[in-house]
Symmetry: C2
Subunit: 319 residues, 2 copies
């Protein structure tokens, strides 16, 4: 099992949502070299959104990837391919070079179900520029079946290479994943599938295994799980577990030992009770993240009362 | 799903392997009251081994449970039943009162596959004294099928109520659990089944769900996962997840907030890289635990080299 799988490491991109992309160049280079030595197929090195469209006042190289900068950082490509993520309405087409002039190999488009048409327009553009592409459908746990069927009709006629199931809220379990994957496979049999999980209920790895078992080939993960709120499936677990002779665990252990323990001291992600609660309630972690930034951060009973009271539930639903 | 399940919380018993049972009476009482309010069916309040047989030089009330002491601590039973674990060769039959004179409701017998006959002798004795009983077969991931079939023949003729699948090394995945449960159900259809997991690969909760889905009814867990090495399936996850109107999450959150965060600062358990490695290698965590107690505790690459070198592998196998 797993012979045809590809691991896509999101440490920089999703982990940047934890620390506002406060990664040193040394760390990003060590990560790239380590993932290459480990045999990890892809590394998502950040977002390729437009600083202008986001009214950015400060530089943020991993949030606003620049091809010239990337070429300096990674002068020589090794085993691992590079990808970038873009958001609908935040990417400037003029920023995207043809693939042969770029260090990037793949551009992934994140979108909600209501924006699939816009997402696929971007995919078409990146595809025409020569990139591998994916469409990452977020918040899948809240998408009604009818909407998904409509979206699949558009996807089928698109050149997109990979369609991702994204459990943004960390609220799905392995049986849910199996159900979703079977639906995706039935309705878009001509596309490769991907999975992106969050660890709110300690199910990120198990959900990724369930997806793999059911034929998903693109597996997202992060080293030591670094990603927004509860974080992602751990890269070191996938590298250990998947029966593929090309994977080597030691380079990933080296990254954890050299960098991640200290980063975890400075920044917070992982299994933390308010994130567990937002996962159980199938809600965006933003309320829990704000709570963790407040003086009440460890008042779990109080947090649970707030997020399950009718008033708050209404306020959250209206967002 | 889960209507017929019972949660058995092992925080004191398995957690005691982390801190040498350094639990305050207040904590144990808060835990008992919280689990009762949460609707958790059983609490394992410690080991009922014999201090004499273990040559104990110091008192250790949760390791050597005493009925008179327990009656002082828990003068009034609430919803949650109490259980104790014993080990083969470490329990003195004279220490065990008839159930009607004891606060305990259940006695569980831990044994390796080679000692199943001795384990079932103890089970018979506890059963005759009026207790609910279980046989917990440890290190199941290393048991050859033939040995298991022999053990099942003995189990079938025993009055034991519950037979446990114990993933001592945290090395099984949900597919392994499903396979084991199906085998157990087929060969001992007249017994209830239990599951006890460890979280080395972040699969303790997923494995418990896989067991539940396949008909296992006794689910072991610990609050905040407190248990030896990588710890156990988290009680708060089971209470959140299982669709049973009798479970209440808030009392468990209260225990975590009041006690577990501070205990986790003082004692170490959970997903920690050397435990992940011992899980992946299907080995007892003792080598990893010793490493975590040394100055080299965070040298993960070095640890991996040591435990995967042929000499060490031999030394471990001979234990």
């Amino acid at each position: 099992m797993g012979q045809h799988c590809k691991i896509l490491d999101c440490t920089i991109r999703d982990g940047g949502l934890v620390n506002n992309w406060d990664f040193s160049i040394e760390f990003v280079q060590d990560l790239y070299n380590g993932l290459s030595a480990a045999g990890v197929e892809y590394m998502e090195i950040g977002y390729k959104n437009s600083p202008k469209l986001l009214n950015a006042t400060e530089p943020n190289p991993w949030r606003f990837l620049d091809d010239n900068f990337l070429k300096e950082i990674i002068p020589e490509k090794k085993f691992t391919k590079l990808s970038a993520l873009v958001d609908i309405g935040r990417v400037d087409p003029d920023d995207i070079l043809p693939r042969e002039q770029s260090v990037l190999d793949m551009i992934r488009v994140a979108c909600y179900i209501r924006e699939v048409d816009k997402g696929l327009e971007l995919v078409q553009m990146f595809h025409d520029l020569g990139y591998e592409t994916s469409l990452n459908i977020m918040a899948l746990s809240s998408v009604p079946e009818k909407k998904l069927i409509e979206a699949f009709e558009l996807v089928q006629n698109s050149p997109v290479d990979v369609v991702y199931i994204v459990d943004s809220f960390g609220s799905l379990d392995p049986a849910d994943i199996e159900h979703q994957v079977k639906k995706f496979k039935e309705m878009i049999p001509n596309k490769q599938l991907g999975i992106h999980t969050h660890n709110n209920m300690q199910l990120a790895f198990a959900n990724t295994l369930a997806a793999m078992k059911n034929g998903v080939t693109f597996l997202d993960s992060s080293v030591y799980g670094m990603g927004r709120a509860a974080g992602n499936c751990h890269t070191e677990l996938l590298v250990s577990y998947i029966q593929k002779t090309s994977y080597e665990l030691k380079p990933v252990l080296g990254i954890i030992e050299k960098h991640m323990l200290e980063m975890r001291q400075n920044w917070e992600w992982g299994y933390i009770i308010p994130y567990m609660i937002s996962g159980v309630l199938n809600e965006h972690p933003r309320v829990a993240m704000a709570y963790r930034d407040s003086a009440d951060r460890d008042k779990f009973v109080d947090f649970y009362d707030k997020v399950t009271s009718p008033e708050i539930a209404l306020a959250t639903a209206s967002k």
